[in-house]
């Protein structure tokens, strides 16, 4: 009886906290939705109105018509998709070498790799831009995609830590059966690392999908623009069409939400990899 009521009390506390937390996180989204349906005059009303009156659905039409929405969506999907493939393949491959192979200077290289995380992006911006310009890559998607095929320090670190938790016995057993290192990486480590790969994938997705500065400085042809560049076009020196911008923002945000919910179970699955029985 006491146990049961304690459990009930515990649950009430937990759910209250969870509800408060989720309310805090959902509030900006609700405000986004609310603003996206307001007219030009209702934007800055005091006290603020949560339910717009009247509802301006045409903001969404204006948002889609203000810039080539479909074209920019396709551009963004292309860049994001290729970057994700690049990040997942290269970072996990390098991480495998750091986690499982023994080679001279491995730890030194690893520290060097981590040190690159400390370089702020602003420092490398102009040298990188000049490099890509000399390669003739300005105004193409290559500067936005190719770097992901060369791994990134944080992702490599993330994958290495995850690979270290995979029992050695698995790779040893595979080796006894005549499996090569590349094959072990691809057939054993990758399938077992779905939670880490999902995390890496989502990180890359949000990074590239929301990236503004990269496309801003590398792309010159409006037909090649991404959604983030399109979104900013609503902001002008004197004044911003907030309602239309919010409508566009909501549309641009939807894929991120969808992706998160579809990959969510992989995050939770992370617990199942605790070890080999035997």
């Amino acid at each position: 009886m006491t146990l049961k009521s304690e459990g009930l009390f515990h649950r009430i506390v937990v759910y209250t906290l969870l509800l408060a937390g989720s309310a805090a996180f959902i509030l900006p989204l609700v405000w986004l939705l609310s603003t996206s349906l307001k007219g030009d005059t209702g934007l800055f009303e005091i006290p603020p109105k949560w339910i717009p009156e009247p509802v301006h659905w045409d903001n969404y039409r204006k948002a889609v018509e203000s810039f080539p929405f479909l074209r920019y969506t396709w551009n963004t999907v292309l860049i994001t998709g290729l970057s994700m493939i690049g990040a997942i393949l290269s970072s996990s491959l390098v991480a495998y070498a750091f986690a499982r192979l023994r080679w001279p200077g491995r730890d030194v290289w690893f520290v060097l790799l981590l040190a690159t995380m400390m370089l702020p992006g602003q420092v490398t911006m102009i040298p990188l831009f000049i490099l890509f310009k000399e390669l003739g890559w300005v105004n193409t998607y290559l500067p936005l995609i190719v770097p992901f095929f060369f791994g990134s320090a944080f992702y490599i670190f993330l994958m290495r830590q995850f690979f270290m938790t995979i029992p050695k016995e698995l790779s040893e057993a595979a080796k006894i059966d005549g499996c090569s290192e590349g094959y072990i990486w691809w057939r054993i480590f990758m399938p077992l690392s779905k939670p880490a790969l999902a995390t890496l994938g989502i990180f890359t997705f949000t990074l590239v999908w929301n990236d503004f500065q990269g496309p801003l400085i590398y792309l010159n042809d409006p037909d090649k623009f991404t959604l983030m560049l399109g979104l900013r076009s609503f902001q002008q020196q004197y004044g911003t069409r907030w309602n239309v911008m919010m409508a566009a923002s909501l549309l641009v945000m939807l894929p991120t939400l969808a992706l998160f919910f579809s990959f969510q179970r992989y995050f939770i699955e992370g617990v199942t990899l605790t070890g080999v029985k035997g």
Binding site: L43, F44, I46, S66, S90, L93, V94, A97, L101, W103, W109, M125, I126, P127, L128, F129, I130, L131, K133, E134, V138, F150, G151, S180, E181, G182, F212, Q213, L216, I217, N220, D221, P222, L229, R232, S233, F234, Q235, Q236, Q237, Y238, G239, R241, W242
Partner: protein, 454 residues
Amino acid sequence: MKKKGFILMLSAVLSLSALSACSSKNNNETQPASQGASASASPSASAPASEAPNQDPVTISYWHIYTDGPMKELTDQLLADFQAKNPHITVEQLGVNFFDYWTKLSTAMAAGSGPDLALNDTSTVPSRAKTGAILSTDEFIARDGVQLDDYFPVLVDRMTYEGKMYGMPNDTDVRVLYYNKKMFADAGLDPNTPPANWDELEQYADKLTKWNDNKMLDVIGFSPALGNLHFWTLAWTNGGDFWDDEGKPTFNSPQNLEALQWEKKIQDKYGVKAMSAFNSQASALGFSPFIAGKAAMIVDVNNLYSEIQTRAPDLDFGVAPIPYKANPASWSAGFSLELVNNKDDKRAAAAWELMKYLTSAEVQVQIHEASGSLVSNMKAATDPKFMDDPNWKMIVDQMEHSRFIEYIEAMPSWHGNLDPVEQAVLNSGKDPKEFLDGAQKDAENAVANFAKTQ
């Protein structure tokens, strides 16, 4: 065996990424003549003008800040008209919003991959003229007989470097006093006599300020912290200056100090508490407190005039010069059109044609009609159909006394250092003398440090 091959592959990947870091360095060292190094190139750069317009097809790029609204539509239309008149020129335009444009443009120009024609900041023309990043337009201007007298002298002056004109001015702005005529009448003041000097401004402000029962501000008469009156502008109206003829800072001159002390005196009448409550309300409005009827007088950019016309067309207001103590003054900034030095005479000549077109009186009239901006071509800005409006005439007339921020090579954004000083004095009750002395010391250090690098 297989393992060895795998390691080889890995080290290849690693060394590749290391190589890519080196190659950028090599490129800069081994090819100093490449466009990548144009920022440091000598200012050999005055584009030779061809006698007859070249009729070979040419494609040029034009970067600007018009991404939304009427100016985007007008730009599309103007470029279409221009290409119809000049069939051999194709213009690839790129609009990036005002806030991000500078990142885009400066990165591209630093790497030598800028557009052929760029909208840029008029205040900093000398810096680009000096490094040879942009081309002089003197020969084009002489060849085509463009009359520089048609443009506001202060703009032409700012775009001249070592006796040569670099680009053409596109548009500018100016600060004026806006005052609410209805509030003037309600307070027993003459709605046709705005304050002309500091003393009148203070007296009127006292009469116009309305407190409510909670000791909070309903209407503020005048606050130097609202709108777009910056400390340097007010100091100029007191005969103050921030740089002497030798390029030495005079931030803490008596005139400047007096202006800052006067600002503090006005602001202290409201008190920090009432003012911060007022500010948090005002910033939530999303538009000027003058439009909302929360401020009876405000100094702001001429753009507020267009905003009043769209948001509050019934507002009964007037426009006046900024009240002064020693001499009338105002502050202007602006956008210039510049020929980026892409080492291609044909493209530069075509970009000039577009520049000439965009700054011509007929086109500038259209730009004013679309944006309400103060265009640089005086023939357009003072077109009789605009000057019938006494408020617009008053705005244009202020250009006579208006000045730009001095371009100081050692400290190009020196005025940016004064905003925090003004805020500390007005909002946090800091001592004007102490903070102005501090700014003076910073400026002296900047100049001294810069001298060491020369």
